[in-house]
């Protein structure tokens, strides 16, 4: 993608979440605003046949992977036009045929699953890779250690991407994790590991591309830590615990403003172009909402479908 397309994708996610958060009929949502650069930069480094897995914070990963915004909105609003008929919601949305193997809302729960997907790809001699996005909160889990160990031993085609937004619900990352950098967690296993600024979409894309080249060459897994921001509280139903002064700093690190600034400085973004982009993405989101609202909820009999 060119940089304008990356910008547009990030703006779509921001606009999508903004519209969704204004509603009251979605239960609650886990927003990705502030971390759009991670998902968008990462997905730009992937091929169609690759599989992306993520945590319950699934809006940016799913939209960045190219899922239809209307279908995603329908899933989040519990409508049958969602890829999972509204049964998965934010926590478990999946569309494997589109390269989005899916979210899993158990923190750290998708790490070994993603390694299993990588094992299946390796066993079939596929050139595709498995990619798992998880938060800093998952880095304290034993599942990460177990997965890193086996993935390194078996040289699995697996890219682990830590979207380190530096806070897990209300616990600051430095209170929960002893490692200086989260990419250090991969080092003892001999896994290629990089830490980048997750608010720089280009840097995320380029680092992911480098790691993925090695993975596809059969050199085993990679680990990419992206230091991002969480612009809102943990979920739309959770109170914010950070101070106004802290939030000032958080908001100053906006991936969209960062890329916009670069493009303006280089003269790539003409005056008025931003307004036009904003208008386009807002309209796309309105269409997504209209599509979702036109779709019904599942019939209550579906509570028993696809169980056994």
């Amino acid at each position: 993608m060119d940089r304008l397309a990356l910008l547009r994708r990030m703006m779509l996610i921001r606009s999508f979440e903004s519209a969704l958060a204004k509603r009251r009929d979605h239960g609650f949502q886990l927003l990705s605003s502030g971390a759009e650069g991670v998902a968008v930069g990462l997905c730009d480094a992937l091929r169609n046949e690759d599989q992306l897995l993520c945590s319950g914070r699934s809006i940016a990963p799913s939209l960045a992977r190219g899922l239809d915004p209307g279908a995603v909105m329908a899933e989040l609003l519990g409508r049958i036009a969602g890829p999972n008929r509204g049964k998965a919601g934010r926590g478990h949305m999946a569309q494997p045929a589109a390269g989005f193997f899916g979210a899993h809302a158990v923190v750290g729960g998708n790490l070994a699953i993603a390694a299993g997907v990588a094992l299946a790809l390796q066993q079939r001699r596929s050139t595709a890779i498995s990619v798992c996005v998880f938060g800093d909160g998952a880095c304290g889990s034993g599942a990460l250690h177990e997965t890193l160990n086996i993935a390194a031993l078996w040289k699995l085609p697996l890219l682990l991407v830590c979207d380190n937004n530096q806070i897990a619900i209300a616990t600051p990352r430095e209170q929960a994790l002893a490692a200086a950098r989260l990419s250090d967690l991969a080092a003892p296993f001999g896994i290629a590991a990089v830490t980048v600024d997750g608010t720089d979409v280009i840097s995320v894309r380029d680092s992911a591309t480098g790691l993925i080249a090695n993975i596809r060459a059969g050199q085993g897994p990679g680990f990419l830590e992206c230091i991002s921001e969480r612009f809102f509280s943990h979920s739309t139903a959770t109170r914010e615990t950070r101070s106004a002064a802290e939030m000032e700093v958080v908001w100053s690190r906006c991936p969209i403003l960062r890329l916009t600034g670069q493009l303006r400085a280089e003269g790539v973004l003409a005056s008025g172009a931003m307004e036009e982009l904003q208008h386009d993405t807002d309209r796309q989101v309105l269409h997504a909402i209209a599509f979702a609202e036109a779709s019904p909820f599942p019939n209550s009999a579906e509570a028993l479908s696809h169980v056994d």
Partner: protein
């Protein structure tokens, strides 16, 4: 007798029946891989995977580190992505470490994705007491029966071990296959021809008229021993080998219990929220009020001390006593 003479069998140990089921299945379906601690060259803790590493090689028979959460997680992920993994968790006690991917992902995958992801995984594990103590002896099948979307099978004979494991390896899954430390060295006739035992069908192991006994896995042998002794007293026991715990063949139990009018449930695990409690309620719903009793482990951990272990888990003597009391009431 005619059918017996034409259906040729071979005598196998239980552990050999498992190896045969895996071997036949892996030859038929190259999506099947085996993951387990010491499952490779070592051939499994009970030699139940003997020969597989040599036949199928290190890509399909993979030794894993001691990492149950990742082992089950990898198996579940690989299943979701198109393989048919058989994951061996040496003891059922350690399955607790791998329950997250099995319960939170595999058992719900088809439901939560609206049918887009299925997880045809078989997790094989070994339950039961044989001198190994409080964290190597447990039977937690009843916990697993409470998980929607998870199938649980627990054979008592080599033929059923072979046939059920083969069915599990063709099932849409997930399936938990539970064997028992005291069964691996038992022998039995297994059909020479490739054969499958359907999941969800109980088997009447012994016919009788006075009381119905339900059991599974090693406890089926305890029930058979008890029935032999009771027959000498003129008590006729019908023994139902459950074989499949989820789904459970309640119809076969109800048919028998309705006829005998007395039901004794036998399990090696805990009675609280146990298999017997589940069976009793469902039979009560189907058959109405009949005499019922249950036998299980004492409400205590299972010690490695031989005296305490024997005191804790059910024996033929305890079953005999319980049946005498049930029928005399």
């Amino acid at each position: 007798m005619l059918t017996e003479s034409v259906s040729a069998t071979v005598k196998l140990f239980f552990r050999e029946a498992i190896a045969r089921a895996v071997s036949e299945s892996m030859r038929r379906d190259d999506r099947i891989i085996l993951l387990g601690q010491d499952a490779g060259r070592f051939g499994g803790a009970y030699k139940e995977f003997s020969g597989l590493y040599g036949e199928f090689g290190p890509d399909r028979v993979r030794d894993t580190p001691v990492a149950e959460a990742a082992m089950v997680g990898l198996g579940v992920g690989a299943a979701a992505a198109g393989l048919r993994p058989l994951v061996s968790i040496t003891y059922m006690d350690f399955l607790m470490l791998g329950l997250d991917p099995l319960v939170n992902y595999a058992a719900k995958a088809r439901f939560k994705t609206g049918g887009q992801i299925t997880t045809p995984i078989v997790v094989k594990t070994t339950a039961g007491a044989r001198g190994q103590g409080v964290a190597h002896s447990q039977c937690i099948e009843a916990w697993m029966m409470a998980v929607p979307g998870l199938k649980v099978v627990a054979p008592s004979t080599p033929a059923d071990a072979c046939g059920l494991l083969k069915s599990a390896l063709t099932d849409s899954g997930p399936v938990l296959f539970v064997d028992h430390k005291r069964l691996f060295s038992t022998a039995g006739e297994v059909p020479l021809a490739e054969s499958f035992v359907p999941i969800g069908e109980a088997l009447v192991r012994r016919t009788g008229t006075h009381v119905t006994i339900t059991a599974h896995s090693y406890m089926t042998r305890i029930a058979l021993t008890a029935a032999e002794h009771l027959a000498e007293e003129g008590v006729s026991c019908e023994i139902i080998d459950l074989r499949s715990l989820a789904p459970m063949d309640v119809e076969t139990i109800a048919q028998s219990a309705g006829r005998t009018g007395a039901l004794l449930t036998l399990e090696e695990g805990q009675l609280t929220c146990g298999i017997g409690a589940e069976i009793a309620f469902r039979i009560r719903e189907l058959v109405g009020p009949i005499r019922m009793a249950r036998v299980g482990a004492l409400r205590a951990p299972v010690s490695s001390n031989p005296v305490l272990e024997a005191a804790c888990v059910p024996s033929a003597d305890r079953v005999i006593g319980a049946i005498r009391r049930l029928l005399n009431n």
